[in-house]
């Protein structure tokens, strides 16, 4: 710009000013050359402080708007004032004797880039129409040169940036057009897609490379290539990065990738020209993640399976008696708890109902639970009374190294009688079962006995109850009454109240009613398992 300005001074003008438009449409970027350097600095300062208003009366602004040159042969002070950008500007122009000017638009490639102004001061001869043509010609050439220079530098800058980026990225990058033809690929992309060089990718016809791969989503569902972000872009969709599992069909080799695609649009029409696809290899990260989650799940699953195997698959049918059980484990999948229950038939028309609680959690507690269930079954089948069954279990627990496996048990031996059932109850350290009448009266049954496995000898006493039509018996573990501790403890009282509602509820619903109350008290987080076993005489 300065070169252009220099051409005109001092032969053609005392001052030459080049004003250019910036991207925002403001008149900026000024080059000023003047015979008197002080004047040049002054104009630069004025432009800085009082930028020309693109919509204003200043000749430069007018010429830029119209695209037509102007000859201001003689400028009187009054006219100077009309287009001055403020009083300071006006004073400057008047003081320095602005006399005559030609302002020509700088136009190239059908766009106005700015304006070229030449000025003569006081003593100089006023410009004539011939001068206008000369200045316009100058302006035309200048504009072209300016435009070329800009384009060149823009392009160069972008290219450099792009190169730097692409070369240094480890990610695979491809650029494809709307037909799926690859127009650009970097080496990482070539490596990823199993070819030697990027040119092989570019030279390949669309649809010849991708079928080599089986592409699955995170859930293992096969993905159509049309579903890939780079393709859906052309349909106008903007997608989130997609995690895919890319399998080489020929070798089974697998890679996990994150695919991100962005559009390259034509700045004039807005049409999407290309899709730029970036593939990030996350195979190692994904494998580590999967291994971790598999282990956690497997461990949890194993513990869970172990726990489930400690509970009966299904409850036997007792004619005339409805049976329901409910188990709710507290804590994580990994925390195998110690509550257990069992119902089995043995001998003639005889069933044993068992509910118990082994102290603690984890594998050891699970082991003791299994021991308890099976020892009791074996003892029952061998004809032992409930009292003897508990003693047998106690002995078995004492023999376990290193000892101190506390276990509480409630046994109910059931035989059927006219219009109901008789139960022999034996307790060992366990909460007494609750007998609920058809009217909702609740009372405890059984006599307390010593907890098994530590204190020796143990004291067990049997007692008998009879249940009639409509009556319910509930066996439970202490997790129920301890729910909500310490501040919202359900307690025995709370459980009694819930039991009063039993006659009006179906048996399964009754147990769920209790479970819900316990969970509510505990605000969803139980600290101990809950086991419930109930029977009701059918009418």
């Amino acid at each position: 710009m300065r070169e252009v300005a220099k051409l005109t001074v001092p032969r053609l003008a005392d001052i030459c000013v080049v004003d250019l438009l910036d991207d925002d449409g403001k008149i900026k970027d000024v080059a000023v050359i003047a015979a008197d350097d002080q004047i040049a600095r002054g104009i630069e300062a004025l432009r800085e402080e009082h930028p020309l208003d693109p919509g204003g009366a200043h000749p430069v602004a007018r010429v830029i708007r119209s695209g037509q040159p102007e000859l201001l042969a003689v400028m009187a002070d009054t006219s100077l004032r009309t287009f001055a950008q403020g009083s300071e500007h006006a004073r400057f122009m008047i003081e320095h004797g602005y006399r005559s000017a030609v302002v020509a638009p700088l136009r190239a490639r059908e766009r106005t880039l700015g304006a070229l102004s030449v000025l003569r001061l006081a003593e100089g001869e006023p410009y004539a129409p011939g001068d206008l043509d000369l200045v316009c010609e100058l302006a035309r050439r200048a504009a072209l040169a300016i435009d070329n220079a800009r384009l060149f530098s823009d392009l160069h800058r972008v290219e450099q940036r792009l190169q730097a980026v692409l070369v240094n990225l480890a990610e695979a990058i491809t650029v494809a057009d709307e037909h799926g033809q690859m127009v650009f690929a970097n080496q990482a992309a070539a490596d990823l897609l199993g070819v030697a060089t990027p040119s092989e990718l570019i030279e390949a016809a669309p649809g010849t490379i991708m079928p080599r791969f089986l592409v699955l989503d995170e859930q293992g569902e096969e993905l159509d290539l049309e579903q890939m972000p780079g393709r859906r872009l052309f349909a106008g969709e903007h997608l989130e990065p997609l995690v895919v599992r890319n399998i080489v069909r020929a070798t089974g080799e697998e890679r996990w990738l994150v695919v991100r695609s962005s559009p390259v649009t034509d700045s004039e029409t807005g049409r999407i020209l290309y899709a730029v696809n970036v593939f990030e290899n996350i195979t190692e990260v994904k494998r580590a993640q999967l291994a971790e989650s598999f282990l956690a799940t497997e461990h949890g699953r194993i513990a869970h399976v172990l726990q489930r195997s400690l509970l009966p698959e299904s409850l036997p049918e007792i004619p005339g008696v409805e049976l329901q059980a409910l188990y709710h484990a507290a804590g994580e999948l990994n925390d195998v708890g110690g509550d257990f229950y069992d119902v089995f038939a043995y001998g003639e028309d005889r069933w044993m109902l068992v509910i118990g609680d082994v102290c603690g959690k984890g594998p050891r507690a699970a082991g003791v639970t299994a021991l308890a269930r099976h020892t009791l079954r074996a003892a029952a089948i061998s004809g032992q009374s409930p009292t003897d069954m508990l003693s047998t279990l106690h002995e078995a627990l004492l023999r376990q190294p290193p000892g101190e496996d506390l276990c509480t048990v409630c046994l109910g031996m059931l035989t059927r009688v006219q219009d109901g059932a008789r139960l022999t109850i034996a307790l060992a350290g366990h909460p007494p079962p609750l007998l609920i009448s058809a009217d909702g009266d609740v009372r405890q049954a059984g006599i307390s006995g010593t907890v098994l496995g530590v204190v020796d000898p143990v004291s067990i006493e049997e007692s008998e109850i009879t249940l009639c039509t409509g009556e319910t018996l509930l066996m439970y573990t202490d997790g129920v009454i301890e729910a909500g501790r310490p501040d919202h403890l359900l307690g025995e009282e709370g459980l009694f109240e819930l039991c009063a509602a039993a006659p009006s509820l179906p048996l399964e619903g009754f147990l769920e009613h209790i479970e819900l109350a316990a969970l509510t008290r505990a605000q969803g987080r139980l600290r101990d398992d809950i086991a419930l076993l109930a029977l009701r005489i059918e009418g």
Binding site: C359, L406, G429, P431, S448, T450, V451, V455, P486
Partner: protein
Amino acid sequence: MAVGSNLLIDVSRNGDRVVLRLGGELDLASVPLLESEVENAMVEDPATVILDLSALEFIDSTGLRAILSLDKRCTESGQAFALVRGSQQVQRLMNMTRVDEHLKIIDSPEEILL
């Protein structure tokens, strides 16, 4: 004073008698804290160990087991062991499991001197 997430233990010594006063909850989570305090107390080889449960709000089967362990340990090493009676909930468990028939239960730490 030792504090776990839900258990407080206050240890006091009077000659060859040590009293561990519990507050809060003695359960699966807090038993390790009790065991650790017991270890510390046993270093001095006290003749009498008292577990004061009067301020204990809650105990479960693991807490019970810890107490029974302590009882067994004291018996085996010739130390006297006693429990100061706890709240209703605590005593209910002691009663239901008939552990109260097995352990020495007193109403206050001073009683042991009688």
